[in-house]
Symmetry: C2
Subunit: 220 residues, 2 copies
């Protein structure tokens, strides 16, 4: 891969609607940086597995974590091929014909393999995942103890190949259908954060943390 | 499987945090019915593939569709094992310790295999997917022509095994950490629909369709 772009290969090339395909890091990493939940897929003896999980990115590396007992993490530590997808739904595209209905979305697909982290790298990866979910939170809370670190497996995902697929804008109907008396347009969608709910077990009367406040305000 | 519940097997049993696992159809189908985007995984010669796609459910069967040229759909028509996940993010769970941070979520995981539909079943499956995305829209628009149907592949997914995993409620911290002066609670999240945007190419001055109006109003 070059510094700025992933090489096109049979694996990552967007074949369906190739004009929606992107291979540059700015676009792919931009999508990754906007979300915090990915879906991660791998296979064991021909059986595909797939789970939703939190992630973080720094540079060309992605990080995921979980319990040391997780079957996902233990399957992936041997470096087998994995596939990771981040999907942002931006809206429903409502055409005049059923056939031309679509969605506006940004998705990034990563092909790679994982290796387990230890020591300082492990703690730093946990910080990166935490900051991806809620920037600033890491500095507000009690950090992981040795026992907690032992109970946690952290994987770094090395990206072998990647692409993004993006659709934006209004529907695109067949010429003849524009005469139909059907309302057409886009119903935009986004992940919204609602008013924070304080833990009923709080012992102190504290204002909402800055990290929580800024995510709630900036997103809604 | 019984009428109301999927049998627990090594494949679908929730091993990590088993108290979050559910196997009854009411819970699993309830999650499926609340969303319209799934992630679908399969493998080819040890390489996992994974894509986001729209889906619909009727009874014990799930439906997905796409271009006849899609490599996902052509790989899956041979009945190889697939894994499908629907994930609803309900909020960030903000504990006093980094370790006990979590998410509130509802996810359904389906193990199964697909077969291709033709004729009336194919058209009905397209209607089911369309209604899952936006109820009522199917009756407002021009329905698929013969040519459009030929350009579309529709798969029915037969469920072999399934489970759901759900987390709700406030954070759960270590006893000693409740004394820490850290704001703790939940930052709720949901997929919100925003004000519809009319297609600039509209030739008629029409009110927003009922289907669009009701999704916009009911979700936001």
């Amino acid at each position: 891969m070059s510094d700025n772009e992933f090489e096109k290969s049979p694996l990552n090339t967007v074949k369906r609607l190739p004009k929606r395909g992107y291979y540059d890091k700015e676009t792919i990493f931009g999508i990754l940086d906007e979300h915090f939940i990915c879906h991660l897929g791998w296979e064991v003896d021909g059986q595909p597995f797939l789970i939703p999980t939190a992630y973080g990115r720094k540079g060309d590396t992605l990080y995921v974590h979980g319990s040391s007992k997780s079957r996902m993490l233990s399957a992936l530590t041997d470096g087998r091929p994995l596939c990771m997808v981040v999907t942002i739904v931006d809206g429903l595209v409502l055409a005049r014909s059923a056939f031309h209905h679509s969605m506006n979305y940004r998705s990034a697909i990563i092909y790679g393999h994982a290796h387990e982290l230890e020591g300082e790298e492990k703690m730093e990866a946990l910080r990166i995942v935490s900051e991806q979910i809620l920037a600033g939170r890491w500095d507000e809370v009690r950090l992981p103890s040795e026992i907690e670190l032992k109970a946690t497996t952290v994987l770094a995902i090395d990206i072998d190949s990647a692409s993004a697929k993006i659709r934006t804008g209004p529907p695109s109907d067949d010429d003849a259908d524009y005469d139909l008396p059907v309302w057409a347009g886009v119903l935009p969608a986004h992940l919204a954060f609602d008013q924070p709910i304080v833990d009923p077990a709080m012992k102190h009367n504290l204002p909402i943390s800055l990290s929580v406040k800024s995510r709630f305000k900036s997103e809604d």
